[in-house]
């Protein structure tokens, strides 16, 4: 995403967060005195050097495995937790839905909680009075609004909380995996409201485990794992990256891969712009692209294989985009030694995003894999500033109608 031109609304620079584990936390004076300062403290590193800049109007899906640090990041952005190191700056009114019933007082009625919550968000009583009816309408609580919220179901909690959060006209909306609690009809209503926010140019950041929502709704996806940003960019690629981390990118019960026959080692696969050039991390669509594969045929007593070199270019989630294979007439011979295979693509296809390379050496007779290796060095294909996965050539003109 070309967030660089947008006005940055959320800026997090070099944010790290470590927690002192509960076991070693001294809340009583006695414990502090007995233990002394800084003694016996164990820390847990929740976030490491996170850099995120979110521009006005972006909708960002924050995804990652459980315990990856997503909620911690959201709390830091919301200004509730202080980063151990690094800086956070958020411009505008932040409405956050961080946990179920966040900011509600169970003893108070829904009505009173609306006033309390809105006051916490920075609204005056008069402003709340003007919004009150539409908050209740949207939350579908009706008469229930005068019951103490401790009697609400978790769904009702979320409905009211979401309704307040979207009615206070926030500049930034932070949502942590709470929408899943509401029923489907309400979830749809929430999505509608979120779309309205998008159209109004508001900034939304939400943590979710429903990955379809990310591809459907977000303009950007950020994958967090082990406290680090693993991917930041196109939502579909973000989802693919996460699925790879989670190991859910292949259907369950897939047949075991055919075992390697061995004998040929794949040493390296280098993508470059020029033949024999340096490894390229970024390529432009339309540029020529060279893939250089280095192999070594090992001397061995068992049967020695010749090999076809088969390169698979993969997008996020290891989706094979296209394959290239050397012809049967031009194989790596069954003679020990080092070999190089070079593939040349005259023009990189106009498909933007992160790419990876998988190499498989196959027995030219049976087609069985002799050796397989996937290279984790990602290279990027970009084309201009326009968002979207595909760069489709187009022309345009403006003329009087």
């Amino acid at each position: 995403m070309s967030s660089s031109e947008r006005r940055p609304v959320i800026v997090a620079r070099g944010v790290s967060k470590s927690f002192t584990t509960h076991r070693s936390k001294a809340t009583q004076l006695k414990e502090r005195v007995v233990r002394g300062r800084g003694q016996g403290t164990e820390t847990f590193q929740a976030l490491t050097d996170v850099n995120v800049v979110v521009g006005e109007g972006e909708t960002v899906g924050l995804i990652g495995p459980n315990g990856a640090g997503k909620s911690t990041l959201l709390k830091i952005l919301a200004g509730i937790l202080r980063p151990t190191t690094g800086e956070v700056d958020v411009q505008g009114r932040i409405a956050s839905l961080l946990e179920l019933g966040a900011g509600f007082n169970g003893e108070l009625s829904g009505r009173e909680n609306v006033y309390l919550n809105a006051a916490l968000l920075g609204l005056s009583r008069r402003e709340v009075e003007g919004l009150f009816d539409s908050i209740v309408d949207f939350s579908e609580q009706g008469q229930r609004i005068d019951d103490p919220v401790k009697h609400y179901s978790s769904g009702e909690y979320v409905k009211l909380a979401f309704s307040i959060a979207v009615h206070v006209d926030p500049d930034v909306l932070l949502i942590d995996e709470v929408l899943a609690v509401g029923d489907e009809a309400f979830a749809r209503k929430c999505l509608g409201k979120i779309r309205e926010f998008q159209e109004a140019g508001r900034t939304i950041l939400f943590v979710t485990h429903s990955l379809d929502l990310v591809t459907e709704l977000c303009t950007r996806g950020i994958v967090v794992d082990h406290g680090k940003v693993q991917y930041d960019g196109d939502p579909a690629f973000a989802v693919g990256t996460l699925r790879r981390i989670l190991g859910t990118d292949r259907p369950e019960g897939e047949p075991e891969p055919v075992p390697d026959l061995g004998g040929i080692q794949i040493l390296s696969a280098t993508v470059s712009a020029k033949p024999g050039g340096r490894r390229a991390a970024k390529l432009k669509a339309g540029q020529p692209f060279h893939l250089r594969v280095e192999l070594e045929v090992e001397p061995r007593k068992e049967e020695q294989y010749a090999g076809l070199v088969h390169a698979v270019v993969m997008g996020a989630g290891d989706i094979p985009l296209w394959s290239m294979r050397t012809p049967k007439t031009d194989v790596v011979p069954a003679v020990p030694g080092r070999y190089v295979t070079e593939f040349v693509v005259p023009a990189v296809p106009p498909l933007n995003g992160a790419y990876r390379i998988g190499i498989q050496v196959e027995d030219p007779v049976s087609g069985n894999p002799v050796s397989v290796r996937v290279f984790d060095d990602v290279f990027w294909v970009t084309s201009g500033d326009l968002p979207g996965i595909l760069s489709v050539p187009f022309s345009s003109e403006v003329r009087p109608a």
Binding site: G57, R82, I94, N105, L116, A119, L120, G122
Partner: protein, 304 residues
């Protein structure tokens, strides 16, 4: 249904955002007001007498002390109940204010951990709560005084204004400090309870201020100790000024027929000087308390 207004390109939205971000971090009267309302509602919800309970507690205490110190330990102080009440209400406002504030952050852990707002409103609301109660109690005191024939509508009554102001500043300062400390050391609120019990007896509330003066003079101790007693203890200043403002009778005749000093001082200068020093102490404490609170508050969400 309210639809968010579209973002127009240009500077104004950025400016609005900055302003709103500041507003969300600032202590606003609206928010404080809402927090005090909330705590009043939660406290008296479902009780038949409601807010009347905020009068019940001090009136009940007053009745007990009155019976004990009028019938059990006889004293000859005229309209002792008015004297007692004017000091007691001021001190109760202070002690409940500080105690409320002490537990305010820990009691609102749910809010602190999940919503961004200026956390200092929590102790302020705790203090505000006790001040609302004081505001309900004072008219009762005035009515009782007038019924008892204590006409306080004279010049000294004006002293109640700076006395109230000092009470507010000092309670706020101490409340803010203990609220911040209580998050890290939960012992603080327990300690505060004990300290308030002791502090109560350190002030001339049940006994006459003149009693302290006599005790110092009888023991042959230097007289400046009497002044020092008020100068280091702003609550003694608040209590004695309240008594001067409402009770006003400066002397009484004891059981042996001797005229005794009742109030801390019969004049005005004494009180004004004490108030001035009290404001300096309370002001410094407030500065220190705010600084401590601001320094510690970033870790509250984590510590809770």
């Amino acid at each position: 249904m309210a639809t968010p207004a579209p973002v127009r390109p240009g500077q104004d939205r950025a400016e609005l955002g900055r302003r709103r971000a500041q507003a969300q971090g600032r202590i606003r009267w609206e928010l404080l007001n809402q927090m005090v309302r909330t705590s009043l509602k939660v406290k008296y919800q479902g009780s038949v007498l409601g807010f009347a309970w905020s009068l019940a507690n001090p009136l009940f205490l007053l009745a007990i002390y009155y019976v004990i110190f009028t019938y059990v330990f006889k004293n000859n102080i005229p309209n002792y109940h008015v004297y007692l009440m004017s000091g007691l209400l001021a001190f109760t406002a202070f002690s409940t204010g500080v105690s409320n504030a002490a537990g305010s952050v820990t009691a609102n852990a749910g809010l602190v951990k999940k919503v961004r707002f200026p956390l200092m409103v929590l102790p302020l609301a705790g203090v505000g709560f006790s001040l609302v109660q004081l505001a309900l109690q004072l008219p009762v005191l005035f009515v009782i005084a007038l019924i008892s024939g204590v006409n306080f509508l004279h010049l000294p009554f004006l002293l109640i204004v700076p006395a109230l102001a000092l009470l507010v500043v000092f309670t706020t300062a101490l409340g803010t400090l203990v609220a911040a400390l209580n998050v890290r050391y939960r012992d603080t609120s327990h300690f505060v309870e004990l300290a308030m019990l002791m502090w109560f007896w350190l002030n001339p509330i049940l006994y006459a201020a003149g009693f302290i003066q006599r005790a110092i003079d009888d023991k042959g101790l230097p007289h400046w100790l009497y002044d020092a007693y008020f100068l280091v203890n702003p609550m003694a200043t608040v209590v004695s000024t309240f008594q001067r403002a409402v009770y006003q009778t400066t002397y009484y005749v004891d059981a042996e027929g001797k005229t005794q000093e009742l109030l801390a001082d019969p004049g005005y200068v004494f009180y004004l000087r004490n108030l001035a020093v009290g404001f300096v102490i309370a002001g410094l404490l407030l500065w220190f308390a705010r600084r401590t609170f601001n320094r510690l508050q970033a870790d509250f969400a984590e510590e809770l």
